[in-house]
Amino acid sequence: MKGIWPILALTIVAVISGAVLSWIWDKTNPIITRMDREKEEIARRMLVVPEDIDLSMIPSGVYSWPNLGVKDRNGFESFKGKEGVQEYLLIWIDDLKKVHVKYNVPKDKAKFIEKAVEAINKSMKITPQICGDWDVYQLFKKAISSTVNFKKVLVLADGTKIEASKDGFIGKDGQKYVVKGDKVFCNGKEVKGKVYYIAYLGGKRVAAVFKVEPVGYSSKLPTLVAATFDGTVLGIKILSQSETPGLGARCVEIKEGEHEPWFQKQFSGLKVDEIYLTEKDEKPGKIHQITASTITSRAVTKGVREGVQEFLKMFGKEG
């Protein structure tokens, strides 16, 4: 009895702890996983929608923020009572391209939304100026961008493109490719490959989003790049960084009165041979470096440039 009691005590404590934890896990895990998934998804969608949204380009339908998977026209009810949703904006564009909204946002934003809808219906465009408030504009933009459909395309090093089906990536010879993190495996062996998300808007493919991962001064800089098929960068987003505060970390700095990181914003609209630093680079380009942080600036610039070049090599002819 004396020898067993310590083991028993430990077991009891462990079991109780396990029970408590599994209850908490059940409560929190769905929220956490959804947030993680959303984070990258949002970034991806935000990248491919142009700055000023032209309503005439957008097919009619229901667009919501957050993306709740609402597809049908009477989808108002489907998200009622969903947990974890604090803010949403549901946009409804009817066949006459008229915009209707339903929302749950903080009060100071709400008045902007009403005004914005009026203005949008007049001009058929969504711009920050029309919305009158950056956050409201973002809500619209994100909601609209949720209409962009993404199709995953795995591009192997030899140029073979494999589109994702519901069973995953199946090659011509029936082999299955598995993507884990940034690595692609086939029959348990690692093969070189890269996943591109081709964005379709209204059935037409408009752009692709892919991840590049340059190494900065003190950290990896996983960055999403959106580019059109003719090689114009639509935008980039640095997903995470831990560069030196005040130096390299300024690659995600947002200047006062602005809404986007100034450094990343510079890339929007550039052609591939313009993606060089203005000075101190192989040839003069259009990216102003972060003061005193040449390494971070050059790493991001070079990473994006090479990513786009590779993308063009893969898809250029078809574009």
Binding site: Y217, S218, G246, L247, K280, A292, T294, I295
Partner: protein, 340 residues
């Protein structure tokens, strides 16, 4: 019998020796200051009013902060030994001329308080105070600390400090060109580099002026040859071996080593910082190891590191190794030989 101890004829006694070499901390520091004169003059010539201001502010801040700290902590105020002046001036020598003066003052205060007084004052600091000050400034205000003024001629508006044109340092150019010697060789001539006509810190740029001061110190016996020679020699050899043959410029073999020697803070580091008595090894063997270690570190940081320049860090790192080197290179007592 007479009592031998007649109070009137008592003399002052002390233990031997009864004579002392006529040098003191003060005279050592004075020698260092004298040795810095050429470098200071060079900085005045190339950087003008800004140089004078930065040097003045650094020295004043160092002296004042030392006096105030010692007064506040009831220590003997020892600013008259000139060590604070030397620290302030050496710090100024490692700062860019265009640095805002208040940052220079903060650097001096940090150098004196955190670099020196916190450890118990002169003689007890493990790290070179001036370089501690510089390292803190570099970490705190990297943008200011890496903005370099273009050298100029006396009398121009830039010399008077009214408008300031900035450029990269030679080492910065080298780093940014991705160690492409051909690019750098076109921009920087060795003559400009050695004479000091390039962008850089106040006292770091003119290698020749510092060399003169260093030789003066050597002649005065304030420093020994061990650290400067091994330090510079290591950098020279490494750059000769690893940089020399590979690059396609005309004077490929000579250019990189001479460039490395004169560029950045290597000269002032080797002659004035790494030879700082307090923070370097005691024995000759230890000093040689110190010099080689610092030389290797400089080369590694310059070539592979994140910063274009590595002298400051190489010396601070080797300062940390000093107690270990002292232990390893303990001198062998005369007669400590196993006979037969």
């Amino acid at each position: 019998m007479r009592i031998p101890y007649n109070l009137e004829e008592r003399f002052k006694v002390s233990s031997s020796p009864h004579v002392r070499k006529s040098w003191t901390v003060r005279s050592v520091m004075l020698d260092v200051l004298i040795a810095l004169i050429p470098a200071v003059l060079a900085s005045w010539y190339f950087f003008g009013i800004r140089a004078m201001l930065v040097e003045l502010v650094c020295v004043l801040a160092a002296v004042l902060s030392e006096a105030i700290v010692q007064y506040l902590f009831f220590e003997k105020v020892t600013v008259d030994d000139l060590s604070a002046v030397v620290t302030g001036l050496l710090l100024a020598m490692c700062l860019p001329p265009s640095l805002p003066l208040w940052i220079a003052a903060v650097g001096s205060i940090v150098a004196i308080i955190i670099g020196k007084q916190v450890f118990g004052g002169l003689g007890n600091n493990p790290f070179n105070p001036a370089h501690v000050g510089r390292a803190v400034l570099l970490a705190s205000w990297p943008v200011y600390m890496t903005t370099w003024m273009v050298p100029t001629k006396p009398g121009t508006s830039q010399w008077l400090g009214t408008d300031i044109v900035t450029s990269a340092t030679p080492l910065g150019m080298l780093k940014e060109s991705g160690y492409n010697w051909a690019v750098v060789a076109k921009k920087v001539s060795l003559w400009d580099l050695w004479i000091g006509n390039v962008g850089g810190s106040l006292g770091e740029t003119s290698a020749i002026a510092i060399l003169i001061g260093g030789l003066y110190l050597l002649w005065r016996g304030v420093i020994t040859w061990h650290i400067p020679v091994t330090y510079l020699g290591t950098v020279f050899l490494l750059s000769l071996i690893f940089e020399g043959p590979a690059k396609h410029i005309a004077d490929a073999v000579v250019y990189p080593p001479l460039f490395h020697l004169a560029a950045g803070g290597l000269m002032i580091g080797a002659w004035f910082m790494a030879t700082d008595m307090v923070t370097t090894p005691l024995s000759k063997g230890g000093r040689i190891a110190f010099g080689i270690g610092a030389g290797v570190l400089v080369f590694l940081i310059r070539k592979f590191g994140g910063y274009p320049e590595g002298v400051c860090y190489s010396i601070l790192i080797m300062n940390a190794f000093t107690p270990l080197l002292d232990r390893i290179f303990k001198p062998k007592t005369f007669g400590e030989v196993t006979q037969g």
